[in-house]
């Protein structure tokens, strides 16, 4: 495999201050705002699932016990 020859060109620093692809950057920001990043989305869905299990199960069990006592 060929190894590319890379050299530092200070002339490229002039591009640092400029937004060369404003439309693409806007589009990227719009998409990212809408969909987030892969890790974040995965974390959110996992914790949401955990919350359902932790909150619902004990509540249901407690209610059943109580109703038995009344009967």
């Amino acid at each position: 495999m060929k190894v590319p020859i890379v050299r530092i060109d200070p002339k490229l620093n002039k591009f640092e201050e400029r937004n060369l692809f404003p439309d693409k950057l806007d589009e990227a920001n719009r998409i990212l705002e809408r969909v987030g990043v892969p890790g974040e989305k995965l974390k959110k869905s996992t914790s949401a699932k955990k919350n359902v299990l932790v909150l619902n199960e004990p509540t249901v069990a407690y209610k059943k016990k109580k109703s038995k006592r009344k009967a």
């Binding site: 693409k24 998409i31 705002e33």
Partner: protein
């Protein structure tokens, strides 16, 4: 950060520029890429160069991804083509080198507003790569 390289082919020598720009999300960079126009001192990312070396050009862009993420290991890189055809070209480029890329990077594709682990044969609207820790 910007990277410059030259495409050599039947249309002559064409200077290409790859630019990584910060997005509104922390550590997330947009990959912009196009032909450098000396007269306007600007980059055209919609021009069709047809210099007969598109595979080489794509490989060089991929080399800049490696160089950039080596310098900024926490960076996530977002990329999408300026046209559907270009996005498809990016997809083909990733597909052809997927096993090599996945040694060092996590690769995702955007489909129906959801990020998926990149799979061969799937169409995506955008791509996201991040260096494995």
């Amino acid at each position: 950060m910007a990277y410059k390289f030259v495409s050599k082919g039947p249309k002559g020598q064409i200077t290409k520029l790859v630019r990584y720009t910060e997005t509104n999300l922390e550590n997330m960079y947009n990959l912009g890429f196009g032909d450098y126009n000396k007269e306007t001192d600007n980059i055209d990312d919609e021009v069709i160069t047809n210099n007969g070396d598109s595979q080489k050009v794509l490989n060089t862009v991929a080399a800049t991804v490696r160089a950039f993420s080596a310098k900024y290991p926490d960076a996530k890189i977002f990329a999408t083509g300026s046209t559907i055809a270009r996005t498809r070209l990016y997809r083909i480029g990733i597909t052809n080198n997927l096993s090599e890329i996945q040694k060092d990077f996590k690769v995702y594709g955007l489909k129906n507003d959801t990020w998926h682990k990149f799979k061969k044969g799937e169409n995506y609207e955008a791509f996201l790569v991040e260096r494995k820790k």
